[in-house]
């Protein structure tokens, strides 16, 4: 089919940060489907919780301290997270490298505390449905945490290599920050479901 040039795109930039870049939308897509997964797991938990008179099915209360510590750590980590985001927008390689290192650390520490959270539930996953749901919710978020911290560490290593000096890398850092907010956001309702809803029943 015959063509006639009618617009010139040569002046356009070769990368974009935030919602201008498709990877940001891809991250949002995966957040939507993982968020839906968490919502359904929480829905199943509440379905069973409202089915039985005493939801703990005569099991002891979970010890909420390790969970509370993880929650505080995650909330605290939001501050450096957004500082890192500002530096990523300015594509400043120095502060971004430091920020990524800090975020890798602030990602790994909750993981270590999370190791002690499982025994603090005071119940095994195969004791009853209450125990199963606690382990399922905590397990889902732990896998979520591990994959994202792994991703952050790999990106941190990448930012210290010669590949770091590209606009797309700073876009990736921005997306990682965006995803970390999501990981922290999903933990809050799950934390309440695991440690405080059983105390109501």
């Amino acid at each position: 089919m015959k063509q006639r040039p009618a617009a010139d795109l040569s002046g356009l930039p070769s990368f974009g940060l935030g919602p201008r870049s498709p990877t940001w939308w891809g991250t949002l897509g995966f957040m939507a489907l993982e968020g839906m997964g968490f919502a359904l797991a929480a829905g199943a938990y509440l379905y069973l919780a409202t089915l039985w008179p005493n939801w703990r099915l005569s099991a002891p209360e979970p010890n909420h301290w390790p969970g509370t510590i993880v929650t505080l750590l995650l909330i605290v980590s939001l501050v450096p997270n957004h500082l890192l985001n500002r530096y990523a927008k300015q594509c400043a390689i120095g502060p971004v490298r430091i920020g990524m290192a800090v975020m890798s650390l602030l990602g790994s520490v909750p993981l270590i505390v999370r190791w002690f959270e499982f025994p603090a539930l005071n119940i095994y996953w195969d004791t009853n449905a209450y125990g199963s749901m606690l382990w399922v919710l905590l397990g889902l978020h732990t896998i979520h945490l591990i994959t994202d911290v792994g991703d952050t560490i790999v990106l941190t290593v990448l930012m210290f290599t010669r590949h770091a000096y590209s606009g797309r890398r700073f876009g990736d850092v921005g997306d990682n920050v965006f995803y970390w907010d999501f990981v922290v956001l999903t933990w809050i309702p799950i934390y309440l479901l695991i440690y405080w809803v059983p105390r109501l029943g």
Binding site: M1, G29, W125, A129, G167
Partner: protein, 658 residues
């Protein structure tokens, strides 16, 4: 809005960064396509966008057309396998107390028929047509996240292989395609059969979720300049809405199958009524996905009908806005009516009547679509060709299916027909009528674009009438035998109930219907080898995929077209306005803003890579191993991490460095 004023200063995005920012290395500029003659432009772009030669090259291809062709062929293969299942079942049911197939094999057969048709054929094939057509229709050079798209095919085909190899090893699931607990639970389903069901779902859902995310981002961010929201073709709208339904529905079945595998393998009690669980929780979780699933299969078919009718009615679709809004309405409402699958479980009647209302409500947007299509056809005598014949077949059959659906939506009536052959007739009418007939029409419609050759019109008509008569002969009497009390999924039935003759008639129809697919397969092969050359636009249709050659080159468009109308080729008859300025030495495509599709970024597109295949093998192996031991997740984590790092790690190609 004519294309001339598009390039005026006002329309370009506000903050245009001319200079490089912060520590970003300046882009090493390469030759541009501005002012380049067509021959050298084609030579440059063909070399930049070609799929590397050889086996490894083929396995590492990320061209959306190559991946889509593989999807289409694999899905058609599974359609034939599922069809053979159906014929075997029908022969066993052709008379009372037949001894041909015992209950154990029959239960595996009908489960594999359902699983293959729903998870291995219907969803993948509609998404595959989307993978092929959406980038072409929005005027882009490749799908967004091309490596994720390649990965999704490898996961899908290993899931299909996993299911059918299990069937060969007498390990196929035998608990029905929706595998209710406690029958599929740990106590009543010994061995690994129900685990195969649960894990096969995980494979196919990971694959369709990946495709859905890729499709959404392609439609939102990679549209040609000028293709604002009101100029997006209806087929692309249908795929966009379907992808959103996939993103919000598929996690439900992944949660359901994960909970089932946890109950079976590590002894959790999520569905154990004696230890605090509940059997109905499974049904709620499954059908929350189950009903959107059938709309995931149906909505792309409405997109195909919305593409075929305007081409043969020789006018843009009537009520474009009405069709788009009803697509979105069906997408939302499909999440609100899953309980109509559970009317017979003894739920409180008031709750059930709410779902009667919502099930009836969804018939209204479907009605709007039907009436808008009919109105499009009223505007002049349409050109009658095979694709339009299949659309007429779609109208005839789908409306019957829709109306029996309205019958099923009423709680009291459903209690008489639930889980009987009336329901089997209903969902075959809406699935085969609603999705397979438009799919066959789409095959005849886009076959010339995919292969560059026309399919034979004569064989096409023979195929249509054989399929139409065979389908109705097979499935319409099922309404009767269902009302006569024949339940679903029975491997045989007593002689004195008088269902023998009508079942024999149904079996005859089913064989006829199967033969029509044999004829279709012959027509496909014949067309591909000896079909008449098709040229760019055999049907003189209006959307962008007809602007490029057939089959399209690896880079789709030499220059990105500019869109001025919802049917661009009809609006710009003499010459297509195009945008120039993209680099030709590196894989580059245009990223545009979401609402108005203003050109925004010259984004690099991922180069071919073998890592998606390795990642699929690692993920697939972990899924397979995890039905034997929960430690598979731990042992599988390392290979998955390694292959993913290999996939994303930049490789010094210009695409990765800019």
């Amino acid at each position: 809005m004519s294309s001339a004023d598009l390039t005026s200063e006002r329309d370009l995005p506000p903050e245009r960064e001319a200079t490089a920012k912060g520590d970003v290395a300046p882009e090493r500029d390469g030759p541009r396509d501005t002012g380049m003659d067509d021959a050298s432009l084609h030579r440059w772009l063909a070399r930049t966008w070609r799929t590397p030669p050889g086996i490894i090259g083929a396995l590492s291809s990320v061209d959306h057309k190559v991946v889509a062709r593989r999807y289409l062929i694999t899905a058609f293969g599974f359609l034939c396998l599922g069809g053979l299942n159906a014929v075997a079942m029908r022969i066993q049911l052709s008379g009372p107390q037949r001894g041909l197939i015992g209950p154990d094999l029959y239960n595996q057969l009908f489960t594999m028929h359902g699983v293959t048709m729903m998870f291995l054929f219907a969803v993948p094939i509609v998404q595959a047509t989307g993978i092929y057509l959406v980038p072409l229709m929005v005027g882009s050079r490749n799908i967004a996240f091309p490596r994720l798209n390649a990965f999704s095919y490898w996961i899908y085909v290993s899931g299909g292989l996993f299911a059918w190899v299990s069937f060969a090893l007498a390990m196929a699931p035998d608990v029905g395609w929706f595998a209710y607990v406690p029958l599929s639970g740990p106590e009543f389903s010994p061995g690994k059969r129900a685990d195969v069901w649960a894990q096969m779902i995980t494979y196919t859902e990971v694959s369709s979720l990946a495709v859905a995310v890729a499709t959404i981002v392609t439609v939102l961010k990679q549209r040609a300049p000028g293709m604002s929201l009101d100029k997006i073709p209806l087929y692309v709208w249908a795929l966009l809405v379907t992808s959103f339904v996939v993103v919000f529905a598929m996690p439900a079945v992944m949660i359901t199958s994960t909970f089932l595998i946890l109950d079976r393998l590590v002894g959790t009690h999520i569905f154990n009524p004696a230890e605090g669980g509940d059997a109905l929780l499974f049904q709620h979780l499954f059908w929350f996905f189950g009903h959107p699933e059938v709309y995931i299969i149906f909505l792309p078919a409405t997109g195909m009908v919305s593409a075929i009718i305007p081409a043969f009615a020789r006018r843009p679709a009537f009520g474009h806005l009405g069709l788009v809004l009803s697509l979105i309405a069906v997408g939302f409402l499909s999440f609100g009516l899953w309980v109509h699958h559970m009317f017979a479980t003894g739920l409180p009647k008031l709750g059930a009547s709410f779902f009667t209302a919502s099930s009836m409500l969804i018939a209204i947007p479907n009605g709007v679509q039907i009436f808008c299509w009919l109105a499009t056809l009223w505007d002049g005598r349409p050109v009658i060709r095979t694709p339009l014949l299949f659309v007429f077949g779609f109208f005839f059959i789908f409306v019957i299916g829709g109306l029996t659906g309205v019958m099923l939506a009423s709680v009291p009536l459903d209690l008489q027909v639930h889980d009987t052959y009336f329901v089997v007739a209903h969902f075959h009418y809406v699935l085969i009528g609603g999705s397979v007939f438009p799919l066959l029409g789409a095959a005849y419609f886009w076959f010339p674009k995919i292969t560059g050759r026309m399919m034979s019109e004569r064989l096409g008509r023979w195929h249509f009438w054989l399929a139409f008569i065979g389908f109705n002969a097979a499935f319409f009497p099922m309404h009767l035998v269902g009302l006569w009390g024949m339940p679903r999924r029975v491997y045989t039935y007593p002689a004195e109930l008088g269902w023998g003759n009508i079942n024999l008639f149904i079996t005859g129809g089913a064989v006829l219907f199967f033969l029509s697919f044999v004829l279709f397969a012959f027509n496909l092969v014949h067309g591909a080898l000896k079909g008449a050359p098709a040229g760019d636009n055999p049907w003189d249709a209006g959307t962008l995929e007809w602007a490029t050659s057939s089959p399209p080159p690896s880079y789709n468009f030499a220059r990105i077209p500019i869109v001025t109308n919802v049917e661009p080729l009809w609006a710009e008859r003499e010459a297509l306005p195009v945008a120039t300025g993209l680099r030709v030495d590196v894989r580059e495509l245009l990223i545009s803003t979401v609402a108005e599709a203003h050109p925004d970024i010259r984004e690099k597109s991922a180069t071919p890579s073998i890592w998606p295949l390795f990642a699929a093998i690692a993920v697939g192996g972990t899924f397979l191993y995890s039905i034997f031991t929960p430690w598979a997740i731990v042992w599988g984590a390392a290979p998955i991490a390694i292959t993913l790092i290999g996939w994303f790690w930049p490789k010094d190609t210009p695409e990765d460095e800019e």
